[in-house]
Amino acid sequence: MEHNKDIADIQAAEESSRKKKKFILCYHSFSVLNFKRTRNQIRKIADAAGSPISIAVIPSFGAAPESEAEQFREELEKFVNEGYEIMLHGARHRADLSLKRSLQGKIALWISNNEAEFAGLDERFTQALLKRSLALWKAHGTGKPSGFIPPIWFGNKFLKEQALEIFDYYEDYHGIYQKVDGKTKKTGSGTLSFSIIPTPLLGIAQTYACLKMLLPGGVHRLVFHDKDFRTIGEKRILNMVRYTSTMREKIMYRDL
């Protein structure tokens, strides 16, 4: 009996320690162009984690046929009804090269292969693009997204404040931001993403991610893209999710 009590105490202590450390699990760039393939990936990740996850959605429909668009809307609605959390992930994700950008923005475009849609834009264009992103979501989505994630996490000096006027959460590479009593509160959070890491370094990046999750501190974000299922592989991704879930409690942005 005493032995069983000791085991129960140890398990309770481990559970308490696990709950003190939290992480966010987010699937990025879910869109009308990839939803037929990625919806299954998202559900598999959620199964491995044991509960629904956050999904960063690209709201632009581009030239998708109406039948596909309708299926995508239904899929989004299903996810929302099942308790998945929606984050808005730019308008098109891909940058409009005709817009004027700062030097930093141009460098960000070069690094990101023109995917950093908001990088280096001025105040007016940032506002316009943010409104376009929300308008696209309203035209097709269900409910209000919890927050805004700029593509490749590259923003500009106006984006954070503008996004927080509309959404509850905004994030960049170093943290997650929210408005509390009129002030911007930052939650320290490392971004653990693999999509832009060269293939030979992916093993090291996965080890680094697991180590960062093991150590205390921060509400880190474990982020997966469609591409990761081809480069890292499904088995490793799901094992990484299971491994992380044993060390930290998975939460969503809205739980912050």
């Binding site: 090291i204 490793r236 094992n239 491994y243």
Partner: protein, 42 residues
């Protein structure tokens, strides 16, 4: 003083690399398992 600092930094860096390497071996093995299960799962 600077010599002592440099040697300490060198030792800490080497130790970190060794520990990371062993953790890398461990985690690679874990991630390759058919179905990862923690030691707590019974």
């Amino acid at each position: 003083m600077s010599d002592w600092l440099f040697k300490s930094w060198l030792k800490i860096s080497a130790l970190t690399v060794i520990l990371f390497f062993f953790y890398h071996l461990f985690i690679s093995q874990k991630l390759e398992e058919e179905h990862f299960s923690s030691d707590n799962d019974n």
